[in-house]
């Protein structure tokens, strides 16, 4: 029901945007005539009344058909499925790396809040937050592509590599390195900062004093007792951030010409490819729901209180 509301809302919102696909195609053509504009609108059913268009679209979505892209003339579902794997590969890799490394950095820093490493983490976080991701990306390109010449510049894979071979997979990994590094740099900053603050908070609480009083080693106290509690905010933020995957990845995807959903969304908006935009919005709505579910499950995994509270 909620999803249906999302679909209707998206449709109405997008129909408020001035101009349509006929204007876009005419623009790309460098000219047009009335006949061609009418021809295009008729082809895509844009000449019909608004409520009919809406009803047709909702009817199709209910049957699992997200329509056909005006621009690529391909089923939207096919288009999105083709793009979702590169985006997930990029975002999940970057996010997982950022969470693991960021949390580790935060934990180490929290053990000596005024130590050298802690200051390093603070500075890293500041720089990570402050540096625009496209700038980071370009600096990485300058270093790795232009100067060291060890990384490829753009794309998911060299188009001439035969698909499915080992070389192909290695080439994808090779192409993945810089985008992931750029994207995780922003995430890394927030996670290390978050983990550090959260750990320091937890390390000051009563049960940690008790654990120390029991004579447990510092490593055991930190990683077994404190981390488990300190990681809850990290999970919350990770869940929220995952819902932003498209927006966060758009810039990185554009700079590296990564064929993901972010670029598809961005370009479709510019092109006025309404079915594709609505398809992507629909997909992201679903992803938000799924990720919220996963976040709740993760809470249960790390926090026994939540488990028992729900069971009671």
């Amino acid at each position: 029901m909620l999803l249906l509301a999302v679909v209707v809302f998206n449709f109405i919102l997008l129909s408020l945007v001035p101009g349509d696909i006929a204007d876009t195609l005419a623009g790309e053509s460098g000219g047009a005539s009335q006949e061609v504009m009418d021809d295009i609108r008729r082809t895509y059913g844009l000449d019909r009344p608004f409520h009919i268009q809406l009803a047709t679209y909702v009817g199709k979505v209910v049957q699992g058909d997200l329509g056909t892209s005006y621009y690529f003339n391909l089923p939207v579902t096919e288009l999105i499925l083709g793009r979702i794997a590169p985006t997930l590969l990029l975002v999940v890799t970057a996010l997982v790396l950022a969470i693991l490394i960021g949390t580790l950095f935060g934990v180490i820093a929290s053990r000596r809040p005024n130590g050298l490493f802690s200051h390093f983490v603070t500075v890293l976080a500041l720089v990570g937050f402050a540096a625009p991701v496209f700038w980071t990306a370009f600096l990485l390109i300058v270093l790795f592509v232009a100067m060291l010449e060890i990384m490829p510049l753009s794309g998911l894979v060299d188009p001439t590599t035969p698909r499915g071979t080992l070389t192909w997979y290695l080439d994808v990994l090779h192409h993945l390195f810089l985008p992931v590094l750029s994207l995780s740099s922003i995430y890394l900053a927030s996670y290390s900062r978050l983990a550090r603050a959260s750990m320091m908070d937890v390390l000051g609480s009563d049960y940690i004093r008790t654990a120390r009083a029991k004579g447990l080693g510092e490593t055991s106290v930190t990683y077994k007792h404190a981390l488990r509690n300190a990681v809850i905010p990290v999970i919350t933020i990770a869940g929220l951030q995952f819902s932003h995957i498209f927006s966060g990845a758009v810039v990185v995807e554009t700079v590296f010409t990564w064929p993901g959903l972010g670029t598809l969304a961005f370009e479709s908006i510019l092109r006025g490819d309404t079915p594709t935009i609505m398809g992507i919005l629909f997909f992201s709505a679903m992803i938000v729901i799924v990720v919220n579910l996963l976040t709740d499950l993760a809470y249960r995994l790390v926090d026994p209180r939540i488990r028992s509270a729900r069971n009671a």
Partner: protein, 591 residues
């Protein structure tokens, strides 16, 4: 008259080079632009030696100009000789060419869309009846010969007998008929084939076009992406060709390259058509067409040698940087058919621009040279009227509206727009096509310039292209910065902007200025039916004088488009045709 020509020889052949250079030396009266043009040609063959074409475009005193002309001619001759010796190498077969562009089209069927993203791969996949050299001369392509009857009402085209589609079926006059009819029905440029009443196919290799009026644009319309031949047996099976799946996948073409793979939004891979009708061609095995939308990324890819060729590069900092690279050559050649112009258009039906004197005042008040030098880094060329300076019909002896603040003020006074207490005469708005940062800067500059003559401008930025085109095509603007292409023949791309019969709200790039002038209409009408090039040129000369004086548009400059290629890798780059990269790349080879 019968036009019959041999297939053209490779452009970089020694003869061709010498010809150009000798022409420049012999013809002492060659215009400044002529000399610059041949120089630019030479530069692309041997960039290390040639002088900078940009310098030649700068205004000089008469004496300086004469001297320069002579020097250019001399240098051209010398450089051409060296270049001729250097390029005497035979084109090689094999290799992969990597081309990169900002955009990748959604499909590659030029019969239903005119844009260059469709046209560049489209002209590789599909052959047209004719091709054009860089001096506006038609050459045989799919057509072996062609004939225009004396009354200009019948055009007979003979096809070569060895041409086949990519699926092996022969290319016949039926396919030609079907293709041109598809253009008539679905292509955005209606005037292109409007006079074609019917097409007869007396035999499989002869197509006869029956025209309602003489149509001087028809030969040009038979070339590049404006006149490709598509197979009837593939595309004729639907009444909805716009959504035909084979517009983008499994394309059955007629051109030098076949579609191997298309990943929407990412890349296209084209492969040599082994059964191409021009023996021994094309030379390259494979074209990889990659989308790199980010300027910086594309620059690095070119510098590193990952990309061999790009086109339509227009950003001055990008061009500056690429120019410094010793492996790369930049050339403004190959854009004269597309004829891109950038201008400031007025809504002549709105106050105060319903008064010609106000429009002229605005034209005088803008320092065009500053725009060219500072905002465009010298990469664009001044344009003085409706027709692109690269055209044979380019404007001559029209009022250039040279920068003159006093004259602008005087005109405004005369029109009755006197300054108020704040020194402001007119409050108005300026829209601009949202096509990159330079447009925004240019708009800001014009605002500052007009302030000096007492015109207070509010800049209206559009969220995206569609929003802008909607505003302008529905006449909801005072002034707008625009970019419009000539598309080769004035009938196709110029008339539309000035014809009083072409004021059609909602349609992009009609006569959005709502300019109405019976005399201009009449002259264009005659020029559009005149087959004699000289007589036509005279008519367009007259038309442009009228239009420039009426000033529905303040003409600024050409688009600074450049083709950039790695001259160490590429031989015969596709720049020796008026169509540039939108012409078949069957003579390009990898060194």
């Amino acid at each position: 008259m019968t036009l019959h020509d041999n297939p053209r020889s490779p452009s970089a052949s020694p003869e061709a080079c010498l010809d150009t250079a000798m022409h420049a030396v012999d013809n002492k009266s060659a215009t400044f632009e002529d000399a610059g043009g041949s120089g630019a040609n030479v530069q692309r063959l041997n960039p290390g030696l040639a002088a900078d074409p940009v310098i030649w475009a700068e205004p000089k005193t008469h004496r300086e100009e004469k001297m320069k002309k002579f020097l250019v001619a001399l240098t051209s001759a010398a450089v051409a000789l060296t270049a001729a010796a250097a390029s005497a190498e035979e084109p090689k077969r094999g290799g992969t060419l990597t081309f990169s562009y900002r955009i990748i089209a959604g499909h590659f069927n030029p019969t239903i869309a005119s844009g260059t993203p469709t046209g560049i791969p489209g002209t590789q996949l599909f052959a047209a009846l004719l091709r054009f050299d860089d001096e506006w001369n038609p050459k045989p392509y799919l057509a072996e010969s062609w004939d225009i009857s004396d009354d200009g009402l019948t055009v007979t085209v003979k096809l070569r007998d060895n041409a086949r589609f990519h699926d092996g079926k022969p290319i016949t006059s039926e396919d030609v008929k079907f293709s041109i009819e598809t253009y008539q029905e679905h292509h955005p440029f209606k005037p292109m084939y409007a006079p074609v009443k019917s097409i007869d196919t007396p035999d499989p290799l002869t197509a006869v076009f029956n025209l309602s009026d003489p149509h001087p644009a028809i030969l040009l319309a038979f070339s590049s992406q404006l006149g490709v031949v598509i197979p009837k047996h593939v595309y004729g099976n639907t009444d909805n060709i716009r959504q035909h799946p084979q517009n983008s996948q499994d394309i059955v073409g007629s051109g030098p390259f076949k579609l191997k793979e298309f990943k929407p939004g990412e890349y296209i891979i084209l492969e040599r058509n082994e059964d191409y009708f021009l023996e021994g061609k094309p030379y390259i095995d494979r074209i990889v067409y990659k989308k790199i939308s980010e300027n910086t990324s594309r620059v690095i890819a070119l510098e590193k040698g990952d990309v061999d060729l790009t086109a339509f590069e227009s950003d001055a900092p990008v061009l500056d940087r690429l120019k410094k690279n010793e492996h790369l050559t930049l050339t403004p050649d190959g854009y004269s058919a597309i004829g891109p112009l950038e201008w400031l258009a007025f809504n002549t039906k709105r106050k105060p621009f319903d008064d010609k004197r106000v429009r002229q005042a605005v034209a005088y008040a803008i320092d065009k040279e500053f725009i060219l030098k500072v905002l465009y880094g010298g990469y664009a060329q001044r344009s003085l009227g409706p027709i692109h300076p690269g055209s044979v019909f380019a404007p001559k002896d029209v009022n250039p509206y040279d920068y003159d603040v006093e004259k602008a003020k005087a005109l405004l006074d005369e029109a009755g727009y006197t300054p108020d207490a704040d020194g402001i005469r007119i409050r108005t708005t300026l829209d601009y096509i949202p096509a990159g940062g330079t447009w925004k800067r240019k708009t800001e500059f014009v605002k500052a310039q007009l302030k000096k003559v007492g015109i207070d401008v509010t800049i209206k930025a559009s969220a995206d292209f569609r929003a802008w085109i909607k505003t302008v095509s529905n006449h909801e603007f005072d002034m707008t910065m625009d970019s419009v292409f000539n598309w080769g023949d004035p009938v196709i791309g110029v008339h539309r902007t000035y014809q009083s019969t072409n004021i059609r709200p909602g349609v992009p790039w009609h006569n959005t200025q709502q300019f109405q002038n019976a005399e201009v209409d009449a002259v264009m009408d005659r020029a559009g039916k005149e087959l004699d090039r000289d007589k036509r040129a005279a008519l367009y000369g007259e038309m442009q004088k009228l239009v420039v004086d009426e000033a529905p548009i303040a003409y600024l400059h050409t688009s600074p488009y450049h083709t950039v290629f790695n001259h160490e890798r590429i031989g015969n780059p596709p720049v020796d045709s008026i169509w540039g990269v939108c012409s078949p790349w069957d003579e390009v080879y990898i060194r």
